[in-house]
Symmetry: C2
Subunit: 167 residues, 2 copies
């Protein structure tokens, strides 16, 4: 049977998808990380229709990724700021450009670099590691559910139909 909503999918990726999987949200969040806060700035720089922007901002506020705060001294002005939950998307905001740069770039070298404002050091390409610094690849990762059932990411040699966490 086919489903219309992800609400009954007990899967953390499906839940995240519900809140994030939209073209406009990606770039709104990106600009929010860049310090953008105002409706008109988003509208102009993204090139999005005002009604669509209203809808997306509302959804992000409803998801508690952005928060809507009136600006002191101007009864009309409003700012959209990242919440703690929104700020916690930072690794993804770093990862996506890295992935794009590796796989989508048309020509030339890397177009940008990201550094620590404190030390000036380059940030590392995002990778999955353990506490001891071992890099875990997608073929050698193992996921264990709360219930104790366990399975391994095994795209290359695993059986089809294998699932790690329910969905």
């Amino acid at each position: 049977m086919t489903r219309s909503s992800f609400a009954d999918m007990d899967c953390p990726i499906a839940q995240a998808a519900e809140q994030l999987a939209d073209k406009w949200k990606f770039v709104i969040i990106r600009n929010a990380f860049n310090g953008m806060r105002r409706f008109d700035d988003f509208a102009e720089q993204l090139g999005v229709a005002s009604n669509v922007l209203t809808a997306r901002l509302s959804e992000l506020v409803a998801a508690d990724i952005l928060t809507r705060v009136p600006v002191d001294g101007d009864g009309r002005a409003v700012e959209y700021r990242l919440t703690a939950k929104g700020h916690d998307l930072f690794p993804m905001v770093i990862f996506l450009p890295q992935w794009s740069d590796r796989w989508l770039k048309k020509r030339g070298g890397p177009r940008f670099e990201i550094t620590s404002a404190d030390t000036g050091e380059l940030v590392q390409p995002m990778q999955v590691t353990t506490a001891s610094g071992v890099v875990v690849t997608s073929k050698r990762a193992q996921i264990r559910e709360g219930r104790g059932r366990s399975s391994v990411y095994r795209d290359i040699k695993g059986p089809s139909g294998q699932t790690a966490y329910g969905g």
Copy 2:
């Protein structure tokens, strides 16, 4: 002016959004990492209509995230496998459940853990670090474009309208 396509947005996140920002793609990719390869398995386990699944798989193949390989010995059977580009999404597949678990879970403790199949160690929460291991936060990251212009992620105290890379 409003835009209809992201094609002219010279922004790596916008490019990634074009290829990834879709609900179904998130869960298809998740299941692909779990070793799922067959059309019917995706259709049944995700609960997606076959025409929609066809469309999404085709887009992922067109984006070179999945590859479509005929199965030996069965003229009809086909497998969808992650490409190298697809495998490179692994950090995101790890990050999203971590983020969901932190912010979206309804109750109880973490529902699952991810470990290295080699050492058994837990994987770390995804975070942005430098080579020397310094953790970079969203408020102390600095991005420099190829052209040399530079700006800082500064959600809390920055001016509105600030942009790091064009969009």
